[in-house]
C-alpha cells in the first residue's frame, strides 16, 4: 500500500476548474446521507414543533382541523402533577444506573487490563449482554424478579432472607429493580470504553513508577486516573444521554408502573401520544424531553472539539 504511494508521482494540482470539480465531488459523496437526515430526521423534528402547538387528538388527527393552541400544550405538560415526578424518576434512573455502570465497568476493565490468560475471551463473553435486544433482557429480568419462584428471591433465600416480594409490582421497589437491570445491561459499554482507553497508556509509565517505589494505589491515582479523564468524561456524557432517553427496557418491564413509580419522561411521552392519542400534548412533552440531552450534547461537542484541537 505505502509502496505504491511512494513510487507514484503526486497528482499535479491542476487548474482552478479541475480543483472545483474535485471539491464538489467530495460533497456528492456526503449529499445522500445529509439529504436522508434532512428528510427523515430534521423534517420530522420540525413537524413535532408543528404538532405541539395544535390540539391534535384522535378525533382530528387524520381529518385535520385541530385548533391552534400556542404554547398551551407545553404549559399543560409542565404544570401537570406528573411532570416533576417523571423528571425526578428519569434523573434517579439515569444517575443511579450511570454511577454503578461506570464504576463496575471501570473495575472490570482494570481487571481485564492485567492481561491474564483467557482475559480476551472472558471480555468478549461479557459483551454479549450488551448486544442483547433490550426486550430480551427486560423479559428475562421480569422472570428473575417474580415474587414466587423468581430466582432473585431464591438467591436471597440462600442467605436466610425468605421473601416473596414481587419486586416489579411493588411501587417502592420497582424503580430500584429496573435500575439494577439497567446497570447489568450497561456495564459492558463502560468496560469496553475504559478498556480501550487503558490500552493506550504506555506500560513503561507504570514500570517507571514501580521502580520509583509507587504503590499500586498511587500508580492508579497518579497515572491511570489523570490519563483516563477524557475517556471517563466521554463515557459519562454519552452514558447520561443514552440512559436519559431509555424507553424499551422500562416499558417492557413495568410500562411505567406500578402507580407511575417508573414513569420516566420517555414513557410519559409515549402514553400521551400512543395510549391517549393526544398527539399535540405528546409532541410538547417530547420537546421538553429533548431539552436536557440537547444541553448535554452541546457540552459534549464542546468537549470533543477541545479534545480534537489538543491532539
Amino acid at each position: 500500500m505505502t509502496a505504491i504511494a511512494q513510487t507514484r508521482p503526486t497528482v499535479p494540482r491542476g487548474t482552478a476548474g479541475r480543483r472545483l470539480a474535485r471539491r464538489s465531488a467530495r460533497y456528492l459523496f456526503v449529499a445522500p446521507a445529509l439529504f436522508y437526515l434532512l428528510l427523515l430526521m430534521f423534517y420530522p423534528l420540525a413537524y413535532t414543533f408543528n404538532l405541539s402547538v395544535f390540539d391534535v387528538n384522535a378525533g382530528n388527527f387524520l381529518r385535520g382541523g385541530a385548533a391552534f393552541v400556542g404554547l398551551q400544550n407545553y404549559l399543560d405538560f409542565i404544570s401537570s402533577p406528573d411532570f416533576l415526578s417523571s423528571l425526578a424518576i428519569t434523573l434517579i434512573f439515569t444517575v443511579g444506573s450511570l454511577v454503578f455502570q461506570h464504576v463496575i465497568g471501570f473495575c472490570f476493565a482494570l481487571f481485564f487490563n492485567t492481561g491474564f490468560p483467557l482475559s480476551g475471551l472472558l471480555r468478549a463473553i461479557m459483551m454479549v449482554v450488551w448486544v442483547l435486544p433490550a426486550v430480551v433482557s427486560a423479559s428475562l429480568w421480569r422472570w428473575m424478579y417474580a415474587g414466587s419462584y423468581g430466582v432473585i428471591n431464591a438467591f436471597l433465600g440462600l442467605f436466610g432472607i425468605h421473601t416473596t416480594q414481587a419486586w416489579l409490582t411493588d411501587p417502592s421497589t420497582a424503580l430500584p429493580a429496573v435500575i439494577i437491570s439497567n446497570i447489568w445491561i450497561g456495564i459492558p459499554f463502560h468496560m469496553m470504553l475504559v478498556f480501550a482507553g487503558l490500552q493506550t497508556i504506555p506500560t513503561t509509565l507504570y514500570e517507571a513508577a514501580a521502580i520509583d517505589g509507587a504503590s499500586a494505589w498511587r500508580r492508579f491515582w497518579s497515572i491511570t486516573a489523570p490519563l483516563m479523564r477524557p475517556v471517563i468524561l466521554t463515557a459519562l456524557l454519552l452514558g447520561f444521554v443514552h440512559t436519559f432517553k431509555v424507553f424499551d427496557i422500562i416499558y417492557v418491564m413495568t410500562s411505567g408502573g406500578p402507580a407511575n413509580a417508573t414513569n420516566v419522561l420517555s414513557i410519559a411521552v409515549y402514553k400521551l401520544s400512543f395510549e391517549y392519542f393526544r398527539l399535540g400534548d405528546g409532541a410538547a412533552a417530547a420537546n421538553v424531553l429533548l431539552v436536557i440531552p440537547l444541553l448535554l450534547s452541546i457540552v459534549y461537542l464542546f468537549f470533543r472539539r477541545r479534545e480534537e484541537t489538543s491532539l
Binding site: L28, L37, L45, V135, T234, F247
Partner: protein, 276 residues
C-alpha cells in the same frame, strides 16, 4: 514460575466473576428447556436434570405470530443494513476528505442524531407515516431504523478512511480513474473491516429495535420480533417457560452474529466512540 501461577489465579477469579455476571443468560436458557416440574421448585432447580423442548413449540415453532414476526425482523434488519451501508460508505469517505472546518459543521447532524431519544423520532414519524400509508409496513420501518443506524455508521466508518493515505487515490487518478472509480475500486476494499463492523452492528441494532417497532408497526402481521415478544408477555403473563423460549430465540441471531464478528464489532465501536 510464581508470576505464571498468579496469572492463572486471575483467570480463575475472572471466570467466576464473568459466570456470576452472565448468570441471567444461563437462567434464561435453562428455564426455556426445563420441564414444568423443575420450573416451580423451592429451592430452584439450579441444574436441570432433564430437558423439554416443548416450550419452543408453544412459543415459537407452533406460534404463527412469532414466526411471522421473525421473518418481518429479518426483512427489516437486512433492508436497513443494506440502505445504511449504501448511504454511509460514501458519506464517511466524503467526511474523511472534506476540509476540517466543514467537516465539523456537516458532521454535527450525525453527532446530534446519536443523542436523540427514539421516542422523539417515533412520534412525528408516526404522524407523517400514518398520513402517507407507511405505518405497518416493512418499508416504513426500514426508513425509520436507518435514521438511527446511519449516523452511527458514518461516525464509526470515518476513522477507517482517515487511516488511508491520500496518495493511494491520487495514484489511482493518475492511472485514469475518476474519483468515483478510485473510491469504488481502490478505497472501498481497504476499509472492508469497517464495512463489516457497520453491517454487523446495524443488523444487531435493528434486530433489537423496539421503540419504532411498537409505534410505527403495531399491527400483528407487521410487528418486528421485539414487539411480538412484548405482546407475548401480555398474553402469556407468567408462563415463564414459553416466554424464556421466545426470548432465547430472539437473542440467538444476535449472539451468533456477535460470536462471528466479535473482533470487528468491539474494535470498530472502540474506534468510533473514543478515538474519533
Amino acid at each position: 514460575m510464581m508470576l505464571h501461577r498468579r496469572r492463572w489465579v486471575l483467570t480463575i477469579i475472572g471466570v467466576v466473576l464473568v459466570a456470576i455476571y452472565i448468570f441471567p443468560l444461563y437462567w434464561m436458557v435453562t428455564t426455556s428447556i426445563k420441564p414444568q416440574s423443575q420450573l416451580f421448585t423451592s429451592p430452584p432447580t439450579w441444574f436441570p436434570t432433564s430437558f423439554d423442548f416443548g416450550n419452543y413449540v408453544t412459543a415459537v415453532f407452533g406460534n404463527a405470530q412469532m414466526l411471522r414476526a421473525l421473518s418481518n425482523s429479518f426483512i427489516v434488519s437486512i433492508g436497513t443494513t443494506l440502505v445504511t451501508l449504501v448511504i454511509a460508505a460514501p458519506a464517511a469517505y466524503g467526511f474523511a476528505r472534506l476540509k476540517l472546518r466543514w467537516t465539523s459543521l456537516l458532521l454535527l447532524p450525525f453527532l446530534l442524531a446519536q443523542l436523540l431519544p427514539t421516542i422523539n423520532l417515533a412520534l412525528p414519524m408516526f404522524a407523517l407515516f400514518a398520513q402517507a400509508g407507511l405505518t405497518n409496513s416493512p418499508w416504513g420501518l426500514i426508513l425509520g431504523d436507518t435514521v438511527i443506524a446511519l449516523p452511527f455508521a458514518v461516525i464509526v466508518l470515518r476513522p477507517f478512511y482517515l487511516g488511508i493515505p491520500r496518495e493511494l487515490e491520487e495514484a489511482a487518478e493518475v492511472d485514469g480513474c475518476n474519483r468515483w472509480q478510485a473510491f469504488w475500486r481502490i478505497v472501498l476494499p481497504v476499509v472492508r473491516p469497517g464495512l463489516v463492523t457497520v453491517m454487523a452492528f446495524t443488523f444487531v441494532m435493528t434486530w433489537g429495535e423496539f421503540t419504532l417497532g411498537i409505534t410505527l408497526n403495531p399491527r400483528q402481521e407487521a410487528q418486528p420480533v421485539t414487539v411480538a415478544l412484548n405482546s407475548f408477555i401480555g398474553q402469556y403473563g407468567t408462563q415463564w417457560g414459553p416466554l424464556m423460549a421466545a426470548s432465547t430465540v430472539v437473542a440467538i441471531p444476535i449472539v451468533v452474529l456477535f460470536i462471528v464478528f466479535q473482533r470487528f464489532i468491539t474494535a470498530g465501536l472502540a474506534a468510533g466512540s473514543v478515538k474519533d
